[in-house]
Amino acid sequence: MSQTATATPQTGTRTGTVVEFAGVVKRFGSHLALTDFDLTLAAGELVALLGPSGSGKTTALRVLAGLEDTDDGRILINGDDVSGLPTSRRDMGMVFQSYSLFPHLSAGQNVEFGLRMRRVSAAERRSRATAALALVGLDAHYDRFAHQLSGGQQQRVALARALVTEPRVLLLDEPLSALDAKVRVALREQIRRIQTELGITTLFVTHDQDEALAVADRVAVMRDGRIEQVGTPEELYTRPATPFIADFVGLSNRLQGEVRHGFAEVCGMTLPLLDPSQADGPVRVFVRPEDLALEPAGDSRGTGESGVLAGTVLLSSFLGSLRRTSVLLERGETVVVQHDVRQRPVVGDRVGVRFGGAPVPVQDLRVTPS
């Protein structure tokens, strides 16, 4: 009843909603899916939970939805502990990884379902469902059934269904992972645009780093049931806190090097470190492919002093707006260089790889004890 009252304005934005996980613990048998999980979502923020499968990211989302009980800790929505509330009363909209439209209902009836549960009148249901479908560009498909819609369309209807009740929080559980590459990119942009427009606090779970970086205000990288780093996409990409994150976020060249007097010595070159207080000793260093440059073989005068290393082209891939080339360095390492399409290295070519350039590309790294 009270829900009906507050849910009237169709495009009304419920800013206000702050979500907080405080020390949440969740066990499955002896497996700890979440350990002391802390995360706060500001009002209207889109936070992506990024991690490999089994890192606990979906569990975190399901715990927030009430689909799993917690073993310890609290979940606060605008300061109220909702841990005890059943799913049906948490007032959250959720889009699932697998297609979850009710197959026996049309798209429009699917969207109306949540309103029906809230005893909204038939006329209002119809108009609000149509408006929600219009938001995702599918109002013309009101009477289609799930099996008459493409995968991308199904997920858009699912999004409309989740949003039509104007929930306090939007939960997205890998909503794009079953879709083709092209549809995936288009839909993630649509989701982001709608989310910004409505200003709804959103938790977006994904295992795809491109997706997380492209869409989120902040990204929380998870590993083994806890958050390893939280930050804006750029923070994560340029200053990963651990080798795990450097490896997981973005394509990186990993090289063995050595710290000496606040600089890293890698492949005979001396490169600046982000964190010069790093103690001396062996390190692993990550270099982004876009921070390397390819030079004709003639230019490479052999050693590191000039910042150029010689090597042989193993493979070169045309990626449309750019090209990525794998080079086997003479020193034995293989590095990937991202460069302009007008450079066309051929397999077997001798080339030079230039390190550095303006922004120092070397990631400061703890050595993983192994």
């Binding site: 059943p86 799913t87 549960m117 219009a134």
Partner: protein
């Protein structure tokens, strides 16, 4: 060439053999009902006689028995729906580890020896009879067990094709309680399986002989056997009709299955009408 399949001979042989196994008994029965006594030759006399004369006299037994069997079928279906469907959903959603156990339990009745039904169920029936009278309907309990394997398989195969877990979670996040989840989401999507299970249950009950015979009750099959001792021709004609009815029932199940073949929502389904979201959504 034979590049894309086994040889034609093999195919003809296999399909022919299968056809033979099924066709022979039925053709034999039809031939039997068309025989013109000792003189030889064939006619439709017996069929027309039956349909014109109707089931009178001693054949009234068959009508009574048919009534009994239909009543039993309805009772059996009710038991199956009320007990089996919720149990299966519960196991599927909440206790997935019990699935194997439930499957074994539900398939077990396939091999329950006849004697178990008689001796094992006798005391149960005597109690039931004392409390509530000993109508034929009391057989429904035994038939419920007999029918279990068939109903289980039908419902389970529907259950396997529907992502029950995600659908019920979606409904719950949308504000549905467990009652709404069951009635508004799960049952409509399991309609096919439930209907198929019910049809099969009806077919089994209409064809059941052992239990009724051993417990000395009258149902369609026992009546047909009794009638068959007096006039085998009429019995065979009635059986052919019963078989045909059962065939129609099962054909109905087949249709149910084909109607909306639990589409695997595919990644690569036609996306022709998928507008790229570069165009602003109004």
């Amino acid at each position: 060439m034979t590049a894309t399949g086994p040889g034609r001979t093999a195919r003809v042989l296999i399909l022919g053999l299968v056809g033979l196994v099924f066709a022979v008994p039925i053709l034999a029965m039809i031939e039997f009902t068309l025989r013109r006594g000792l003189a030889g030759g064939y006619d439709l006399a017996r069929w027309t006689a039956l349909f014109q004369g109707g089931l009178t006299g001693e054949y009234r037994l068959v009508l009574v028995a048919l009534g009994n069997s239909v009543g039993l079928a309805v009772g059996t279906v009710a038991i199956v729906l009320v007990l089996l469907v919720p149990t299966m959903l519960l196991v599927h959603l909440r206790f997935p580890r019990l699935r194997r156990v439930l499957e074994i339990i539900c398939i077990l009745p396939i091999s329950i020896p006849a004697i178990v039904l008689v001796v094992g169920l006798a005391p149960v029936f005597s109690v039931v009879a004392r409390l509530a009278g000993s109508g034929v309907w009391s057989l429904a309990l035994a038939y419920g067990i007999t029918v279990l394997p068939f109903a289980y398989r039908a419902i389970q195969s529907n259950l396997d094709g529907v992502d029950v877990r995600t659908l019920s979670e979606a409904a719950r996040t949308l504000g549905a309680g467990w009652g709404s989840v069951l009635l508004r989401v799960l049952v409509p999507n399991l309609r096919r399986g439930i209907l198929a299970g019910s049809f099969i249950a009806v077919a089994v009950v209409l064809g059941e002989f052992t239990i009724a015979s051993l417990l000395g009750r009258t149902n369609l099959q026992t009546a047909l056997v009794v009638v068959g001792k007096n006039d085998p021709y009429v019995a065979v004609i009635l059986s052919l009709i019963a078989l045909f009815t059962a065939f129609l029932l099962l054909l109905g199940i087949g249709r149910l299955g084909a109607a909306r073949p639990g589409r695997k929502a595919g990644t690569r389904t036609p996306s022709v009408s998928q507008p790229t979201s570069t165009g602003a959504p109004s």
